[in-house]
Amino acid sequence: MADTQYRWPENHQARLIGKRTDRLDGLVKSNGTAKYTYDVNLPQQLIVRAVDCPHAHCNVVSIDVSAAERIPGVVLVHLLNAPAAGDEPVEIRAAGTLIAAVAAETEAAAAAGAAAVQVEYELLTPFVADDDLAAAEQAGLTKRAGGGIELDEALGEPGDEDDEEEWEEQTIQSLFEQSKYVVQGKYGIDAITHCCLEPHGTTLYWDGSRLKAYLSTQNVSQTDDGFAGALGVTADDVDVTCEYIGGGFGSKFQPNYWGIAAAEISRQTGRPVKFMLTREQELKVGGNRPSAFLEVKLGADENGVVQVWDSHHWGTSGFNGSTVSVSTVPYVFRPQNWRRKATGIVTNNEPSVAWRAPNHPQACAITQTAYDDLAAAMQADSFDIFLRNLAHIDDPEKAPVYAAQLRLAADSIDWRQHWHPHGQGEKRGSVVEGLGLAIHKWAGTANSSNCLLKIHPDGGVESYCGTQDLGTGTRTVCGLVLAETFGLPIDAVKVNIGSSTYPFSGASGGSTTVGAVSESHRRAAQDALAQILELVANKLNVTADQLEVSGGRISVAGYSDQSMSWKEACSLIGVQPLEVTSSYRRGTQSPLSSANVAGCQMAHVAVDTDTGVVKIKKMVAVQDVGLIMNRKTAESQVYGAMIMSIAAALFEQRINDPASGDFVNANLADYKLPRLGDIGELVVHFYEPESERSRGVIGLGEPPVISGCAAISNAVCNALGVRVPTLPMTPQRVLDALANAKG
């Protein structure tokens, strides 16, 4: 038997790939039968409620749990970030930090117990002004976060006698002097949180020396290691299950310290333990995305092509004091001459974790706004300025792709009809409209993934893979790859995912999952099919390459009377099921998957200049993504991303109380999110000429969430003729920007 050539069917042959397939788990999710981690309740379980710190910066001097232990139903109080008797105080550097965990027979007893824990705090001065670089410097709370300079070789090099920095400064200044247009601006975007609808947490128990954990996780195959390392066992002693998850967005890769605590409490009490964060704890410590603020001066030639970029940005990732990666500035664009510097600010907030497309949305929002301000300064069409600056981007090969995508998006949003120079649109009553755009990039490389596939002699097909479905449709992609390969309907295959006992599959982060499972499932399916075709070929006295598979039958090409059903074919396997294991390693060159996408988004907004309220009229996303597996869930992925962009552009922000540092809007009543009526018309176009389709599968999770914020900011600027410098553009900020412009 020759080695299988892994490949996807041609476009005209594909039955399921690229078409619209309903989710395999759509019904059970809709009717509530799907069990999320939060739904798992085990007999005899204890429920844990954590005591969280109300102060952003303090020492926990001592803790007295005796009153809590006396509450009927309280079984155990477990210290998390608190000193044992006689120990040194523990410094707390973010509000919401979990101090102690109270395990009880009921939720009410756990809550009463948590309320009865007496903590002695010594208050320390908090710092939360992440936008105020001068204040942070004065407080000694800044960290250098990288920087660098690159100048066109034609500008020469400093002479032996020159001070290098001085020479660079002079060179940059002379570039500005030679520039036809010079734009200076300040831009920013606040920290936001992941806001997972299902909070972080776990329900778990020990079966002898084995830990069985139901964990809300994006990382089924690898969180066993996290548990094992912390609990002094090995990963083979830990089984992690996550069939369904209510949101992760990059925040659920670890068991986290509360997950470890749940396992310790369970070990100590011999009882199953359920430990989920409260809504407020979820917002405070479940995950957040760093803020970013940038000051820039750029110079451009007479065509609006940027010749020199000089920026300094800062922001906070919480008390570890980092900021958005300096390498992403300016975003996508890469002028020939640039100098950039980044400063991290230490604030009293929980350290940030990955948030869908780490660094990119903020980098796009603080830099492509400057490119749009260049268009505004020139009173030129932003579309033209973006197009011309494609001459200098970090991946020059992508320039034609961006150009084609921009034109497609412009047609879709009627750019030529609606565009006007910044601030020059018609005002109806107090309402002005505007258009904006931005571009983005992402890798989306397939992660490693293994798949165990069983074909039963009765025709049954089942697969096992330790991946997870974040709600994006991974389970359905696994099923449709198998069904496509075997010529079966999708409900004829049984997909099993969500358990660490299944073959390893990588974490779902960085748009790596659809590629991963497509690789592993297609490989396993093609390998299995090759074996079955050999058996059928022998039976029909033909060669395997003469056979074709479709409609539940395997037949000799051109001779439809020479065929057998899938079930008959499988009966040739013998009495034992055919088992095939496939293995795909990240980074392996493969015709099935690749990486690196471009994309653009455009926004059409209306702004009420009397109230500062911004409404999205329409947004268009154009995205290349290689070979689309399930068009329906791919579109959903982009819709969701656009809605998240609208949220961050207009609504979402972590609000720290300037005096106490507390995160005062850490609940879904005060933490603003868009509602259905706030999102306008959303349009998704996939850019999929054969040149893209033939690249194979590429991840789609991150790219569509990147450029929406900048596009909306640019559209508001186009409407008003005034930049609202910091996102979210709340009515207050819009009115402030208008007032400042009036002077």
Partner: protein
């Protein structure tokens, strides 16, 4: 949440007795959309919760022979908006429409909404209604706090979205307790007050007193409207709001009520703005003057100067809507007196 007694009486009398037991702190539960979250956070912890939603006498909307609309304390926002008896109350219906959330509309009661506690994040985080004599607000984040009536320690804003329009229409409340013979009527405007001391509430009801009915007098020839400046759609509190009730004679304003919401510790009667309108026709100029007059006495806190403009705009737009004019702003569909309630309010 602390353990508490739960009672579900089926008569007013039984509720009265349960709510007025000496030595017990009691709370009325109707929709629970505000009480339950407050109890879960430990901001309030009553000894006894009395669910009045099963009292038949409180479930109806009725119009008496004088044209007064009686709304029982168990009537939901959705029931109110769908009832033909309330068709002539466009301002109140506009507010319910703005709330957006079908769940909130179905669960929250009209009377309960009038009694929602302030959304001030310092109050909700357990710092008390006055939040350390107002210091937490002044030194903290005051973006959603008061611009009027804020010179004392109270800096929060009154929560009710329906109150401004119902006050403008002269609504009253039937109040029972603590004893049967204490039954009384109070003007809705008199329900609210600005607390000055830590133990004061933002309402004037005494322990054991509770509201059985809201009574809205006939609108008659009055033009009424409400306008809320909302950051986004849905149930989040508006940034500023205004409701107006106007009586015109021969094209001139004879009598005006202008009540602001979300700008002061209680619904704020803009009397100077109303006076400025009297004797005037309604036009771009007079509504703009009224808008300015309404906020003439406003004093911003450190973070909320923008709300002065928003309150002024809300007044101007409410007047324009009452006059049947376009607001010129970025508004969703406005509700005017009509036969049909908005389609999304029709419940199965």
């Amino acid at each position: 949440m602390n353990p508490f007694e739960y009672a579900q009486p089926d008569t007013e009398q039984a509720a009265l007795e349960l709510l007025a037991e000496p030595g017990k702190s009691t709370a009325v539960l109707a929709g629970g959309t505000d009480l339950i979250p407050l109890m879960k956070r430990g901001v309030v912890s009553p000894d006894r919760v009395v669910n009045i939603r099963e009292i038949d006498a409180l479930k109806a909307i009725e119009t008496d022979d004088r044209g007064n609309v009686w709304v029982g304390a168990a009537v939901s926002l959705a029931q109110f908006a769908n009832d033909s008896g309330t068709d002539l109350l466009p301002a109140a219906n506009q507010v319910i429409h703005n709330l957006g959330s079908i769940q909130v509309q179905a669960q929250t009661t009209v009377v309960g909404e009038l009694l929602h506690r302030p959304r001030c994040w310092y109050f909700r985080r357990g710092h008390g209604l006055l939040a350390d004599q107002g210091r937490k607000v002044i030194e903290g984040d005051s973006r959603y706090h008061a611009i009027l009536g804020n010179r004392g320690p109270a800096k929060f804003v009154s929560a009710s979205r329906l109150a401004p329009s119902l006050i403008a229409m002269g609504a009253r409340l039937r109040v029972l307790g603590p004893r049967r013979e204490d039954e009384c009527w109070i003007e809705l405007a008199q329900l609210y007050r600005t607390p000055g001391a830590d133990d004061d509430l933002e309402i004037t009801l005494r322990p054991g007193q509770w509201v059985t009915h809201l009574v809205i007098p006939p609108v008659g020839e009055c033009l009424t409207a409400a306008y809320e400046v909302r950051h986004g759609e849905g149930p989040d509190p508006p940034l500023a709001a205004a409701a107006v009730s106007l009586r015109l004679e021969r094209g001139l304003v004879r009598d005006a009520q202008i009540i602001l919401g979300q700008v002061a510790p209680r619904p704020w009667s803009a009397t100077r703005a109303a006076e400025a309108l009297c004797g005037q026709p309604l036009n771009e100029h007079t509504v703009a003057v009224a808008g300015s007059e309404a906020v003439a006495g406003a004093v911003p806190l450190p973070d909320n100067k923008y709300k002065i403009q928003l309150a002024s705009v809300a007044v101007r737009r409410a007047l324009l809507i009452a006059a049947g004019r376009e607001t010129g702003g970025l508004d969703g569909p406005m509700i005017r007196p009509a036969d049909d309630p908005p389609p999304q309010l029709k419940l199965a």
